[in-house]
Structures are given as structure tokens and as C-alpha cells.
Symmetry: C2
């Protein structure tokens, strides 16, 4: 099983949208995929049409109450695609885990139990570098970074890379960058084009060729409880996520 953390401390850059649509694309071509919602907001859970009030267990339970991952997994309406959903109680996990020994490695330890059940296990991270996110970075084999082509988002990238290096040195020496994906891209906007040039010059092959355009259809999909691939497969947004998933699988040596 390969664990990929989708993360970026900057808010609203497309982490949840990217995690859901890459997972869906992988499931569509036959990979067995799980997605763990590590954000107390639970946007990934809602975007897949899962009712938070009907859940027996959620991410909080696997981190704090020792409930096995297998018991908290729910199947999405998409074949091959399972999910560990998040409820608002996850917000309390941070404070409750602070004094636990090896607090950074809790998620890594619990995911061992499902090591042979999935091909890919994605983690949708909250917009922070808190203990929850550090748990994701320790459990992950690689990191996928959605980046909005805006000045403030770019500023955070350098910070994020420094923090990733720190986690790599201290906790997870084999951690690698799977890639950086440019999201909400508007090719008519000079700022976007300028930032794309900067990022490709600086981060070279880390940056995927595929760019995700800004698209209203993508923003509409969550209100229907579906990933864009199911909401409007022919849309430019859906097609760009399919092409991104192929690039991710290529880097993993799968195709």
C-alpha cells in the first residue's frame, strides 16, 4: 500500500478537491483506494455524500479511541473507493493526543493494519501544520501539494518545504514529494502565468504537467455530494483530474 498525504498549510487551495478526484480516478481504473479525512471540517466526507450524523466511527475514533481502521471505513457510492470519514469531534483530537507518547506516529501505526487491503491510501489534510498534519506526514510515503497560483500561496510553499524536511529528518526518512499541482488556474490572468513560470523554474520536475483550471463545475460538485468525475465527466475539470491521476500513477511506476 502507498500512502499519499495531500497537504498545504495555505487554506482553500484545492486540497480536498484534489484528494477526492485523484482517489476517484484511481478507483475508476481498478485500484483499491481509501481516503482518510483528517480535517475536522469534514469537507471530503460531505463532498462524497456521506451523512456525518449516521456514522458509527470516524477519524477521531481511530486516533483517540483505538478503534481499528477497518471498523471505521465506509464504502462510498464509487466501487473500489472507501473512506474514513471525519466529524466535528476530530477538532478535539489535537489537544487529547498532545501528551501521548510517540504522538506523531499514531496514524502511521494504525494504518499498518490495512497495509494489504488497499493499493493507495490518501489523506486529506487540514490547512495547518499541527499534530494531525504531522501524523499524516509521518504515515505517508509521499506528499502531493496543491498550489494556487497566487502570491500568498507561493509564500507558504517555501515554509511548507522546510517543515517537510524537518519531519523527514526526525520521523520519516523515506518521505518524498510525489508532486506539486497548480490548481484554480486561469490562463487569462497574468499573475497566474507569472507564478506558474516561477514555480516550474524553481521546483522543476516536481511540478506536474497537468494543470487544474478554475471551473465553476468543480465548485458545484460538492453540493451534489459527488466528485467532478461523476458530476460532469466531460467537463474540463474532470478531464484534468483524470490526466493528473495518470501522472501520479506514472510517477509511482504503475503505468
Amino acid at each position: 500500500m502507498k500512502v499519499i498525504a495531500v497537504t498545504n498549510r495555505k487554506g482553500g487551495v484545492g486540497k480536498t478537491t484534489t484528494a477526492i478526484n485523484i482517489a476517484t480516478s484511481m478507483a475508476a481504473i481498478g485500484k483499491k483506494v481509501a481516503l482518510l479525512d483528517l480535517d475536522p471540517q469534514g469537507n471530503a466526507t460531505t463532498s462524497l455524500g456521506i451523512d456525518k450524523n449516521s456514522l458509527k466511527f470516524s477519524t477521531y475514533d481511530i486516533l483517540v479511541n483505538n478503534i481499528p481502521v477497518s471498523e471505521s471505513l465506509v464504502q462510498t457510492f464509487i466501487p473500489n473507493f472507501w473512506m474514513v470519514p471525519a466529524k466535528p469531534d476530530l477538532a478535539a483530537a489535537e489537544i487529547e493526543l498532545i501528551n501521548t507518547p510517540e504522538r506523531e506516529k499514531i496514524l502511521k501505526a494504525v494504518l499498518r493494519a490495512v497495509e494489504s487491503d488497499f493499493d493507495y491510501f490518501l489523506i486529506d489534510c487540514p490547512p495547518s501544520l499541527n499534530l494531525l498534519t504531522v501524523n499524516a506526514l509521518c504515515a505517508a510515503n509521499s506528499i502531493l501539494i496543491p498550489l494556487q497560483c497566487e502570491f500568498l500561496a507561493l509564500e507558504g510553499l517555501a515554509d511548507l518545504m522546510r517543515n517537510i524536511e524537518r519531519v523527514k529528518r526526525t520521523f520519516n526518512p523515506t518521505l518524498k514529494i510525489q508532486g506539486i499541482v497548480l490548481t484554480m488556474f486561469d490562463k487569462r490572468n497574468n499573475l497566474c502565468l507569472m507564478i506558474e513560470k516561477d514555480v516550474r523554474a524553481h521546483f522543476k520536475n516536481f511540478v506536474y504537467q497537468t494543470v487544474i483550471p478554475r471551473s465553476v463545475r468543480i465548485a458545484e460538485a460538492p453540493s451534489h455530494g459527488k466528485p467532478i468525475l461523476f458530476y460532469d465527466l466531460k467537463s474540463v475539470g474532470a478531464q484534468s483530474y483524470l490526466s493528473l491521476a495518470k501522472e501520479v500513477l506514472k510517477r509511482e511506476g504503475e503505468i
Copy 2:
């Protein structure tokens, strides 16, 4: 002095942009204003052209090292407008304050010292409901909530309101909602119009009349280290923030 926390757990909804531009507008009409950057990303600090490497003190120091606010304030290039800047070290404050007595009221206590120095003291919150944000909610007289007109942003609002009620009951009984401002608004987009209708129907007079349009000029301004009001005063973005600041002051009984 009136303390206003600009907050919303959802990421990328325009918290920093709103905090900076309301503060700038208030300073422009002669109010003495301070803005505290409570986000380890330090986007408010960068957007005002402040060099993080040249700072003697920052938000971390007033929370963890008992440095007085007056010593960490720096003047921005805008008259009447001061700032407590943030550096990346602020990320460590959360874990270091967890075991402090009355950990939620640290910010409230330190701000007392400047009670008579400013008319308004704004706080730009990170995209989370962590201890830093709870400190802001305890120190604040009122809360200003930027809201993007997107489905996922709307979902978080109900959660946010529940958490505000909880802080109000437990720590800060006089806390009130100053208002909800719709940001990045695109009137050609049906989803936006639909959400606006929902929000106004549900939150009634809490929602400001002024709406902030999506505008490339607003997104460009931070890379020049200036608020939109100084970067392009005639732009629609700048004018809408001026009108929003007037609404805020009206609700405070100032005009």
C-alpha cells in the same frame, strides 16, 4: 478600544485580505488601528510589506515570552496603522501554551496593556479552531466572518457558529457577531447567487449589504506589499472594502 477577530475555519475565504483592508480603511479616516497577525503563515505581515527577518519581536513573543504588546508593535507604512507581525515560530505557540493555566485568556490579558492606545484592534486568525483562534475569540468584543459563496464554505459556517456560542458561554459572554461579509463574489455565477440568497435568508441582518467582488487586482496587491486601497484605490475591490469599513463603523455606532 474595540477588538474585532476576523475568523473562519474554512481556508482561503479572504480573512487576511479583509482584515488588512478594513484596518487600512479605518486608519484612512483617522481611527488609530492595530492588526495582530495570529496566523503562523504570516500572510498579513507579508501583505503589508513587513520583512519578517528584521523583526525583534512578534506574536509568538507576546503569547509565550511575556513581551509587552507595545514592544512588538511595528508601524506600517500607513499612518495610524500599527501591527503585531507573525513569524513562522508562531506555529510552536499552540503546543507550548497547552499546559498553561487559563490558556484561552492569554491574548485577552496581554491586550489590556494597550487598551487606551487604539480605537480598533483587529486580529487576523488562522484557518482553524485551535487554541490560537480560541484566544482571539476570548479577547474579542466582536467577530467578523468572511464567507466565500461556495458550498463547502457554507457548510463550515454552521459549525463555526456553534463553536462561537461555546466560547461565548464558557469564556466571553459579551462576544457578539459584528457581521458576515460575502467575499470573492461573482454575480455571473449561479452558485454564488444561490448561496447569497441562502445566507441572507438565514443570517438576515448579520450579513453586510456590501459584497466583495472577485477581482484580480485584489489578488495582485499582496505581491506589492500593499493593501488594495493603496495598490489601486479606484478599483472595484478597493471601493467595496471602503464601503464595508463604513458599514462596520456604523454598526459600532461611530458614524
